[in-house]
């Protein structure tokens, strides 16, 4: 078993044993029904009592682990055109711990990453904007920004 697979199995074990409330993360399935540990799907709830938690929204993510994980960080994407100042139009997240040349370290676990992203949702970093619309609204008009976030949360509403 490769180092990458071994680690991912352990990540899965750890996640099943203990993960933060409201989150989910699971490997996808291949066409033949076997698990694909390199591609995961995950969901992050908005932090309690923030605009992101309106409509009990859970925001979906796609996680892709490269073959040289954990030396290299996984690629994590929101759906395209996700509304957030630090998310690129492609859905790519601008977060230093996900950047190989910045703060990525091989010891960072899935749980830490997902909690980090949840934190980022309500605390955007205005110093590294990744999309125009959300950034501009966040800077100039908080009320418009709020409205757009709440609007988006409807789309990811959990029943």
């Amino acid at each position: 078993m490769s180092l990458c697979e071994q680690r991912l199995q352990e990540e899965r074990k750890k996640w099943r044993k203990d993960h933060p409330f409201g989150f989910y993360a699971k490997p996808t399935k291949n066409a033949d029904g076997t698990l694909n540990l390199k591609k995961w799907e995950a969901g992050i709830p908005g932090k309690k009592d923030t605009i992101w938690s309106s409509n009990n929204a859970v925001y979906p993510l796609k996680i892709e682990y490269p073959a040289d994980f954990p030396s290299k960080p996984p690629k994590i994407m929101f759906p395209a055109n996700f509304y957030h100042p630090n998310v690129y139009p492609s859905g790519k997240i601008c977060l230093s711990i996900l950047n190989e040349s910045q703060d990525w370290k091989p010891s960072i676990t899935l749980k830490q990453i997902l909690l980090g992203i949840q934190e980022l949702l309500d605390n955007p970093n205005p110093n590294s904007p990744a999309q125009d619309a959300a950034y501009r609204a966040y800077i100039t008009s908080k009320s418009n920004y709020k409205e757009a976030v709440i609007n988006q949360s409807k789309k990811y509403q959990q029943t």
Binding site: Q9, Y88, P89, S90, S101, P129, Y135, R136
Partner: protein
């Protein structure tokens, strides 16, 4: 663009003092180090009393290795030349030892070393220098600052974990169960006690290896734990990676400082295969007249743009010209359409997504993508730009474009022609130094110094050919209706006539043939005074052409860009 030919700077030769020992016997040179005479008092003092504050071994080590050093002075600028990066680094090390205060050195040696292994000193000092872009001034500042010294990452070694109560421990990185604790398998950073930050030796090796061989920030490697900010000592990194670490460190840190415009104190010779390093103090450059320097192998190049000698065309126009030459190339077309040059270091940058705040990956200059102004002073928002970019001499009308193309083809033809002529002349020169000189010397009983006029003459022809070549590139940009343009071309033609005249004589004399032909040989010997006269004539004409070019550029009569 650098062609391989010897070209020396004749006017400067007198000022050059060479300490040169290429033999294998390095030790003999150690003594000669004291004899190193430098033009500048201060510098010579520096080398004579290296205070070897760290250890005498280091000092010996440096002086043994620093067996080749060469100083050259120009009118305004001073250079030091080194045969390769290692020598350059050793020199930097010796200067550093000298600049560090006694107190600092005591501190450093106390913290870093318990024994006097020279390699240990070397790695820590190298690291220290490398992480500060080889800037001695900065190093000294840090060493003298109590608070900064603590963060140097000198003392925080990796150590083996021995006090785990359980029988097994799972490495959080690779998830391997480690059974035998006594095998020194689990490592931790000395001052970090978080159990989740322990990792096995193999994982640490990989982790350190990846960070050390990437250009990002290979000098301050932190504890493997997610958010832990403990620096790992250089020595630990060295112990894990061995000598490759030093090589990588030198390579990447040098590349980084080379790319960093603010620290352009040294350059590596651009000639393929040449490793010479040139250290420049206080380079004064007006941006118009290029600053040339010859490395120890006599490869002459322009310090500003790192290209071959290109007078009379200034560096900025040369870049445009070279881009023009490559115009037909598809990928370069793509580059022109999709990238913008960094306003600080001219490297081509592609922006895929994100706002207008762009940081150059090479020189770290931060600027606005729209107006190219420095980001700090830019103000405004990330997506809007209030400023207009200065675009000088923009010409977009189609009519002008076609004229410009014809014009370009025309000058490019001349440019190529001159280049071919130069290559022919270079062939003569190579033959001459290979064998012909010796033959002539034997046939006429003249010693080699008496025959130097021939080498000088061919050399000057080549220099002049090079100038003609680039003068056509310059002319392409200039307004031909301007009077200065005519003055320039007139002088250029005078030079060209003279070159052809001298070149014909050299070819006629059959210098490029190895066959003994005493008749033509005799003729060339007889022409000695004539050739000497013409050599200096060629020099004078080149100076004139250069002056005219200076006028052209200064009067800003460029039309095509």
């Amino acid at each position: 663009m650098i062609s391989s030919f010897y070209s020396s700077d004749d006017e400067l030769e007198d000022d050059i003092e060479i300490i040169f020992d290429d033999s294998d016997d390095n030790d003999s040179f150690t003594n000669d180090l004291n004899a190193l005479t430098l033009t500048e008092e201060k510098q010579s003092d520096n080398l004579k009393h290296i205070k070897h504050p760290l250890s005498t071994e280091l000092d010996d080590y440096i002086s043994k290795k620093l067996h080749m050093s060469h100083r050259k002075s120009n009118l305004n600028n001073e250079y030091m030349l080194f045969p390769n990066k290692d020598n350059f680094i050793l020199y930097q090390l010796s200067s550093l030892s000298d600049t560090l205060s006694d107190e600092t050195n005591e501190y450093l040696s106390r913290v870093m070393y318990s024994d006097s292994n020279v390699d240990k000193y070397r790695i820590d000092l190298l690291n220290f220098l490398a992480s500060n872009q080889w800037n001695l001034e900065l190093c000294r500042k840090i060493c003298n600052d109590e608070t900064q010294r603590e963060s140097l990452g000198l003392s925080n070694h990796l150590e083996v974990v021995s006090n785990i109560a359980e029988d097994t421990y799972m490495c959080p990185i690779c998830c391997n169960e480690l059974i035998n604790m006594n095998d020194a398998q689990i490592l931790k950073v000395q001052s970090c006690d978080d159990r989740d930050h322990y990792a096995c030796r193999e994982c640490y090796r990989k982790y350190v290896n990846i960070l050390a061989s990437s250009t990002s920030d290979s000098f301050h490697i932190k504890c493997i734990g997610g958010s832990c900010h403990m620096n790992i000592s250089y020595f630990s990194i060295y112990k894990i990676l061995g000598d490759t670490y030093i090589d990588d460190l030198i390579k990447y840190s040098l590349l980084e400082s080379l790319n960093n415009n603010n620290n352009s104190q040294f350059s590596v010779c651009p000639q393929v295969g040449c490793e010479n390093v040139i250290l420049t103090d206080n380079i004064k450059n007006n941006g118009i007249s290029p600053e040339y320097v010859s490395c120890l192998e006599w490869h002459k190049f322009c310090l500003t743009c790192k290209r071959e000698v290109h007078s009379p065309i200034p560096c900025n126009l040369l870049k445009v010209w070279i881009n023009k030459l490559n115009d037909g190339n598809e990928s370069l077309n793509w580059v022109f359409n999709n990238t913008q040059p960094c306003p600080s270091c001219d490297v081509d940058i592609e922006k895929m997504e994100g706002c207008n705040h762009v940081k150059c990956g090479v020189c770290k200059f931060e600027f606005c993508w729209i107006c190219h102004k420095e980001w700090k002073t830019h103000g405004g928002s990330f997506y809007d730009c209030m400023h207009k970019r200065d675009i000088k001499h923009s010409n977009t009308s189609n009519g002008k474009e076609t004229i410009s193309l014809d014009r370009f083809r025309n000058y490019y033809k001349f440019f190529l022609e001159s280049e071919n002529n130069m290559i022919l002349d270079m062939r003569i020169f190579n033959k001459l130094i290979e064998s012909k000189l010796n033959k002539l010397s034997a046939a006429f009983g003249m010693n080699l110094t008496e025959l130097e006029f021939l080498t000088d003459c061919v050399k000057e022809v080549i220099n002049a050919r090079n100038m003609i070549k680039y003068s056509f590139a310059l002319l392409y940009f200039m307004d031909q209706s301007h009077n200065l343009f005519h003055i320039f071309t007139h002088n250029q033609m005078l030079l060209l006539d003279k070159i052809d005249e001298v070149s014909d004589i050299l070819i006629e004399a059959n210098l490029d043939s190895n066959l003994a032909n005493s008749k033509s040989d005799l003729k060339i010997i007889k022409m000695k005074p004539y050739l000497i006269g013409n050599t200096s004539m060629l020099k004078k004409l080149q100076v004139t052409v250069n002056k005219c070019a200076f006028d052209l550029v200064n009067n800003k009569i460029e039309i095509y860009k």
